[in-house]
Symmetry: C2
Subunit: 141 residues, 2 copies
């Protein structure tokens, strides 16, 4: 695919959990909710402009990540969205929501937060997601 460089805003706001040749898995720093972001390595900025084979692969990863978030964070609802008004690099939010989270039932974008992840928590998420996706640890960065 294309030469990939993660958008600076995404890099600032998120932890890079896993990176493969075609996709980056990010975890947003806001630990109030289980907020993952998939970044396909493409220059396209709109989902509908992706080739159908790429869309299908992306949907498979959205499904897997959604299942993971549902199971591992005991989520009541999964929010899936591609917005891109601020960061044009295509990225898909996969967010585990709980009825007792601080924002429920409102959406999470544009909210202040204090709760963040420590390195042990990040390592655990990375280990579990890597295992769930069936990826080798060599994909971790």
């Amino acid at each position: 695919m294309t030469t990939f460089s993660l958008d600076e805003r995404l890099r600032k706001d998120c932890h890079v959990i896993i990176e493969t040749d075609s996709l980056s898995y990010l975890l947003h720093s806001n630990a109030e909710v289980s907020w993952f972001i998939l970044v396909p390595h493409t220059n396209q900025t709109e989902f509908f402009n992706l080739r159908s084979s790429i869309q299908n692969q992306l949907c498979e990863q959205i499904n897997l990540l959604s299942e993971f978030v549902k199971l591992h964070f005991d989520s009541d609802k999964i929010n899936v969205a591609t917005i891109g008004n601020v960061v044009s690099q295509m990225h898909i939010h996969v967010i585990g929501r709980r009825r007792d989270d601080v924002y429920w039932p409102d959406v999470v974008w544009g909210r202040e937060f204090d709760k963040t992840y420590d390195s042990a928590q990040l390592s655990l998420v990375r280990e579990r997601l890597t295992s769930y996706l069936g990826l080798s640890n060599t994909f971790n960065i």
Copy 2:
């Protein structure tokens, strides 16, 4: 598919533009943005729980609707999202955003609005979308 009844909140907040056997196309009453909502006729509440054949069909309709919104409303960015924290019936937002819309670059959910559609505008949207999707007018309701 299943016997389908549109959620009361969606019926209250939106205009039903087109209804086929498997899918309803809604237009949100908030005319500040070009806010369409696809409602697949299913009892599933999570996208990842849909069968892959249904997901593929839904993605095709998301693509078509996104293209339509991009072209007919001169949109700068298409926002696609399935949230479902308030209305559990599965529905996918396909929203045309412009850099000069009142909410840009923020998301549209939970906002107040004054601007709505009149019946002539609704008829025009219905006619154009029906034509774009290649549907017979008999699908209109």
